[in-house]
Symmetry: C2
Subunit: 152 residues, 2 copies
């Protein structure tokens, strides 16, 4: 499989939001229209201008975008001034699921986190997505923590 993992650019945004929306939880919270709301472009600019953030897409050999995720590199004092890589907003395009792209994407992300000097890679996964939790466990993640959220 010839896949290219690269930073997203503004032209990819429509397809990224389409993927984020195309999901039982995502469809409740995104606003996917032919003309994308401006707030997505503003958010993209903030992510893109932040040296500690990487919004990534996978492109297949037909130059089609088949997946996305966001990597954040967060500097802490803990662990003797360690950096953590955090993964959010992971999606594989519906028609490309079950082909092993997710595993390849995570293998790439783990390598990228090491390159950036992270000592830990972390994510939270909704307990309503048991299949996702199982997928992360197979990759070596362990659910040692509660992922606690408070909507404001």
């Amino acid at each position: 499989m010839e896949l290219k993992f690269r930073k997203a650019n503004k032209e990819d945004l429509y397809q990224i939001i389409e993927m984020l929306s195309d999901d039982k939880l995502g469809q409740l919270r995104e606003s996917f229209q032919n003309s994308l709301p401006k707030k997505y472009f503003d958010a993209f600019d903030i992510i893109n201008n932040d040296p500690h953030q990487e919004l990534i897409v996978i492109e297949n050999c037909e130059i089609e975008i088949v997946g996305t995720l966001q990597l954040s590199f967060i500097q802490y004092l803990t662990y003797q001034g360690g950096v953590r890589a955090q993964i959010e907003a992971v999606r594989i395009k519906k028609e490309f699921r079950g082909k092993g792209y997710g595993t390849l994407f995570f293998e790439w992300a783990i390598k990228r986190a090491k390159e950036k000097g992270a000592h830990l890679i972390q994510l939270t996964s909704d307990k309503k997505r048991p299949e996702a939790i199982h997928f992360y466990e197979k990759l070596g993640f362990t659910a040692t923590h509660e992922g606690m959220k408070l909507h404001l």
Copy 2:
């Protein structure tokens, strides 16, 4: 109680690392010495120069530092380009625990997250700290997610 919540400066670093180390999990991973390793100062500079990070301390009326936490404001595309506030490295100095400082600190952090336009405040809490999880639940957090970690 007269408490001041403010951004930490470099002179506070020794006391912050002392608090991070003074804990059953923290003592395994920090290096607290009379002369602090340089990597803590480097980490402080990165946090302090990042407009999306706030390392906070609480000062009491005797200008003593009694607590610390780190707030990160992470821009995502999800939730229509929403910002999440993330809390890590929370400690109240041992001799000041059980006085309600933690609750006041979190009430302040929730207010701060709202000021910064966050739609969600999130943290992960080690399942080996049930008393901490209970504390966060009383503040309104719910453990809807698994907090998954992979040490690199």
